[in-house]
Amino acid sequence: MGATDFELEIQRVGQALADGLASKRGNPLKAIDDRAMELAAQDAELRAALFRFVDVVPACRSVDDLAAHLAGFLEHVHTPAPPLRAAMRMSDTKAGRVALGTAGAAGVRHMAHRFIVGEDPAAALPVLKRLWRQGIAASVDLLGEATVTAAEADRYAARCAGALDTLAAAYDEMREQPLLEADAIGPLPRANLSVKVSALTPLLRPEAPARGQRDAAPRLRELLRQAARLGAHLHIDMESLDSREAVLELVLDLLSEPEFVTGPSAGIVLQAYLRDSPQTLDTILDWARSIERRQPLVVRLVKGAYWDHEVVEARQHGWNVPVFERKADCDANFEELTTRLLEARPLVRVAIASHNLRSVAHAVARNRRLGGQDNDIEYQILRGLGDDLGHALVANGLRVRAYCPVGDLVAGMAYLVRRLLENTANESFLHEQATGVPLAQLLAAPGTEAS
C-alpha cells in the first residue's frame, strides 16, 4: 500500500467526521451566536477593538466606565459599520453610556458562558455530567489571575486540590462509559485536572529555570500525591517557550521520584508549532524509556496557543522565531509527531488535541494503519469551540475529552481573549471551515493543494 492509499484513508475518515459535523448545527462560528464574532472575523481593526474590550471588562468599575472604554476602542476602527457608529454616538450621553455599557457587559458575559463551564468546580458539575452522558470526558482547567506572589501560588494549589476532591467524588457517581474508561494499556481515570506551573510559582525565570522548578515542586508534588490517592489524572499544561525547560524538567523529575512509580496517571503537552518539538519529544521518550512507571505518561499533542507571543518576543530580541511561520509546516510537523507518538506506545499514551479535521483524521488513520484500536487515542477539544467536532468524534466511536475552563467569568477573560483570537484568525481551521472552504481542501495533506 502506498502513500496514496493512506491519503485516501485519511480522506475517508475525514469525510466521516465531516458528516458528523454536518448533521449537527454545521458551522462552528455560527454556533457562536454573537454576531460580533462574525463581524470580527472579517475586520482586523474591529477584532482588535472587541478583544481589547473583552480584556478590560473585568477591570471596569461601572457601566459608564465600560461604555467609555468601548467607545475609546471603537475610535480605532477606521470604517465602522453603521451599528458601531450608532454605538459611538451613544457614548456621548450618560444614558447612552449606561445602555451601551450594559449591552457590552452582557455580550461579553454571554460569550464567556460558552467557554467557561462554571464559576467553580461544583458549579461546573452539571455540564461535566452532561458531557459524560454524551460520551465525552473532561479535563478541568482552573482560570484565575496570574500568580505573582507565593500566597497566590498557594491559593491556586489549594483550588486545584479542592477541584480534585470535587471531581473525583462527582465522577465516582457517574455511570459507566466503557469507551472512556480504558485503552489497550489499561484503565483510565475518570477525573482529570489540567494545571499550569506558572500558577504554582511566581518564580519562573527564563534564564534560571531551576528557580521556578524548585519553588513549584512542593505544590505540584502534593497535587500528584492527592491525584494518586483519588485515582485522578493530573495534566501539566505547557505555556510559552520561556518556561518550557522549567516545566518539562519539573514534571519529569517529579514523576521520577520513587513515590510516584505506581501513580498517579499524569501528562504533559507537546507543542507542534515549535520547530524543535521533535527534540523535545526525544527528551520525553528517552525519559519514558529510562523510567519504570505503572501508568505511562500521557502526551497531549497540540499546535500551541502562544504563537503571537513567540513571534513577537523573538522579533523584538532579534532571535530566530522558534515557531513555524507557515501553517502548512506546523501541520506537517503535527502529523510527524503524531506518528512518532503512536509508534512509541506503550511507552506513552497519546492525546491528539486539535480542531483541524485533517490533523484529527490523519491521527485516526495512522493509528489504524499501525494496528492500533480506535480507543487507544484520546481526542481533545476545547469546550465552546470544538463542541461539534467532539460530537462527530463520538459518533464515529472515538474517545473524546473536552478541555473545560472553570472559574470566575471575569477572571477568565484573559483566557477567552487568546482563544478567540486564535480561532478567528484568518488561517485558523475553524475560520476556514466557517467561511466555506471546500472539504477536499480542508482535508488535503499539509502544503498540497487538493485536486
Binding site: V56, G72, H76, V148, A150, R205, W319, A414
Partner: protein
C-alpha cells in the same frame, strides 16, 4: 571609498532561556583574567598604576581592576594630544571613520561573553543585563557609524539663481566623555562613538568604579583602527573630570551621571576659560525620579511584574528605573499587597548567579545611602516589605524595599535614591497623578498602565518626560527604537540612540558662493 551597509538592526541579546546559551556566558567568566590593569593611555603613551582599585560589589575583596589615576596634568596632556590628533581625524573621510567604528563593533561582538563577564564582576550587572549592555555598545557603534554617513550629506537649502548654498556639519573639536558605571560599556561607547563618528577626537574618562570596562571600550576602538591621536583613556576620579571640564581646548563635554555633577559641569563650561576660543557645549544626561501611573483599569497581572522589573532590575541603578508608583485609590491596597508579595519573592544575590533578581549596589556609600532612605521611609511612612530580609553578609547588598503612606514633602518621594527602593502613593485619578509628575523638577522616564485609549492620549499630552512607556516596563530602551534621554533637570534634552543625537557633536557651517561673473551665471 564607499561603504555599503545593511540597514541598522539591534544586536540580538543571548537567548538565555536556552541552556546552551547560558553555558556560553559561563565560559566567558572562566576566561576572565583579573585584575585588569588599566593605564592612563594618552596617544601611544601608557602609564600603569594602581592608585585606583575597582572591586566586585558582591565580593569586595576581589579586585577587578587596578588602574592608574590620572592627574590634572595628565588630563591636560590628554586634551593636548586630542587637539593635536584632531586635524587628521577630521580630515579622515567619513567612510573610513565609520568603518573603524564598525570594526570596533566586530571586535566587541567576538568578545561578547568575556566583556559581559567583566561587567558582571566590575559592576555587578546580572548576566542578562551585562549581555544587553555589551549589545547596546555594539548598537551605538553601528548606529552612529550609519548616522555619520547620512549627516555627511549635509542639509538641503533653498537655491536661487546666481548663488550656491551649502550646509555641512563640521566636528567641534576635542570632546571630553565623562561616563557612568551603570552601563559600563554602552554609555561610554555611545558617547565616544557619536563624537568620533562625526570627526571629533575624544578623551574618555570612565567612572572610577568601572575603569576595566572603560579600558575595553578604548581597546575596541583602537583595534578597529581609530588612531591613537583620536582616542585617549583617562581613568581617574572626580578631579580628572573637573580638569577636563575646565580645559580651554575642550569643545564638547558629553556626560552621563548624577544631577549635582552634571550641574557643576554646566557651570564650569559656562565660565569661558582664559585662552578658550570656543564655547563649551555640554551634553548631559542626569538623573530622574521616575513615576509609573497605574489607572483603575490597569491589568495588575501585567503591571506588577513590569513594575518589579522597572524598580528592582539591576537593584534600581538605572537612570530609567521606576522610583514611584502613583496608583488609582481603588486599586491601591490590592496593588500594594500583590506588589509586596512579588517583591518578597525576589532573590538578592551575586550578579553571576542566573537566579539573582537583585544584585548588590555598586559600593558601600550607595548601600549606606539606600539604607538611610529606607530608615527615613520606615520612620515617616510604612514599609510594605519586611526590610530585614536575609541578604548576603559580604558585599554591598540591600534588600528591596516598598514604602507607602509617605508625607508629600518626604525626601524619599523627591530625591533620586538610585537603589532598590520603590514608593507607592494613592491618587484620586490619573489627573492627580499627572499633577504630581508635573511638580517634579526632573523628567526622565515615566510609565502608564491603562487600557483606555483616551486616558493614554491624555497622559501623553500632559507628560513632560523624555521617555514615556505605556503598559510595559520603563527600562530597557533600545538604540534606534527608543531614543533615550530626559527633559527638565534630567538633562539637556538629547536622545542617545536617536537620529538627531549626532547633531550635538557638530557645528553647522554654511557656505554661499556667488556664481555670477560679469553678469553671467557661471
Amino acid at each position: 571609498m564607499s561603504l555599503a551597509l545593511a540597514p541598522f538592526a539591534n544586536e540580538p541579546v543571548l537567548e538565555l532561556r536556552r541552556a546552551t546559551e547560558r553555558a556560553k556566558l559561563a565560559v566567558g567568566l572562566g576566561e576572565l583574567v583579573l585584575p585588569v590593569r588599566v593605564p592612563v593611555w594618552i596617544g601611544s603613551d601608557r602609564r600603569s598604576g594602581d592608585e585606583l582599585v575597582s572591586t566586585d560589589p558582591g565580593r569586595p575583596e576581589r579586585v577587578v581592576a587596578l588602574a592608574a589615576s590620572a592627574t590634572p596634568e595628565e588630563a591636560g596632556a590628554a586634551v593636548t594630544a586630542a587637539r593635536a590628533g584632531f586635524p587628521s581625524w577630521d580630515a579622515t573621510p567619513v567612510e573610513d571613520r565609520a568603518a573603524a567604528l564598525l570594526r570596533a563593533a566586530a571586535w566587541m561582538r567576538e568578545r561578547r561573553a568575556s566583556l559581559a563577564a567583566l561587567a558582571v564582576r566590575e559592576c555587578a550587572k546580572p548576566w542578562a543585563e551585562a549581555d544587553a549592555d555589551v549589545c547596546e555598545a555594539i548598537d551605538f557603534l553601528e548606529f552612529y557609524a550609519r548616522g555619520a554617513l547620512e549627516l555627511a550629506a549635509g542639509a538641503p537649502l533653498l537655491q536661487v539663481a546666481g548663488e550656491r548654498n551649502e550646509l555641512h556639519y563640521a566636528p567641534r573639536g576635542v570632546c571630553a566623555v565623562i561616563a557612568p558605571w551603570n552601563f559600563p560599556f554602552a554609555i561610554p561607547t555611545g558617547m565616544t562613538a557619536a563624537a568620533l563618528a562625526t570627526g571629533n577626537t575624544v578623551v574618555l574618562k570612565p567612572a572610577e568604579q568601572a575603569p576595566g570596562c572603560g579600558l575595553r571600550v578604548v581597546e575596541a576602538l583602537r583595534a578597529g583602527g581609530v588612531p591613537a591621536g583620536a582616542i585617549s583613556l583617562l581613568p581617574g576620579e572626580g578631579d580628572a573630570g573637573v580638569a577636563l571640564a575646565r580645559h580651554p581646548d575642550v569643545a564638547t563635554i558629553a556626560f552621563t551621571g548624577s544631577g549635582p555633577v552634571g550641574l557643576e559641569l554646566l557651570r564650569t563650561a559656562a565660565d569661558v576659560a582664559p585662552g578658550a576660543r570656543q564655547l563649551t557645549r555640554v551634553i548631559a544626561e542626569m538623573g530622574g525620579k521616575n513615576c509609573i501611573i497605574v489607572d483603575s483599569d490597569a491589568d495588575l497581572d501585567e503591571a506588577i511584574p513590569a513594575i518589579v522589573e522597572s524598580a528592582f532590575g539591576y537593584a534600581g541603578q538605572k537612570c530609567s528605573a521606576a522610583a514611584r508608583v502613583l496608583v488609582h485609590e481603588a486599586l491601591h491596597d490590592t496593588l500594594v499587597q500583590r506588589l509586596a508579595g512579588a517583591v518578597e519573592g525576589l532573590q538578592v544575590g551575586p550578579a553571576d548567579a542566573f537566579a539573582t533578581d537583585v544584585p548588590p549596589v555598586i559600593e558601600q556609600a550607595a548601600q549606606q545611602r539606600v539604607q538611610r532612605y529606607a530608615a527615613m521611609a520606615a520612620e515617616w511612612g510604612q514599609l510594605a516589605v519586611d526590610a530585614a530580609q536575609d541578604v548576603p553578609a559580604e558585599g554591598w547588598y540591600v534588600a528591596p524595599i516598598v514604602a507607602t503612606h509617605l508625607p508629600a514633602d518626604s525626601p524619599v518621594l523627591r530625591d533620586e535614591i538610585f537603589g532598590p527602593l520603590l514608593t507607592v502613593e494613592a491618587v484620586r485619578d490619573v489627573d492627580e497623578a499627572c499633577e504630581r509628575v508635573d511638580e517634579l523638577p526632573v523628567a526622565l522616564t515615566g510609565g502608564l498602565f491603562s487600557r483606555n485609549p483616551r486616558t493614554v492620549r491624555r497622559v501623553i499630552a500632559r507628560s513632560p518626560v523624555g521617555n514615556l512607556y505605556v503598559n510595559r516596563s520603563t527600562t530597557g530602551a533600545m538604540v534606534g527604537r527608543q531614543p533615550f534621554g530626559g527633559n527638565r533637570l534630567s538633562g539637556t534634552g538629547t536622545k542617545a540612540g536617536g537620529h538627531d543625537y549626532l547633531l550635538h557633536f557638530v557645528e553647522p557651517r554654511v557656505v554661499t558662493e556667488n556664481t555670477v561673473r560679469h553678469g553671467l551665471v557661471v
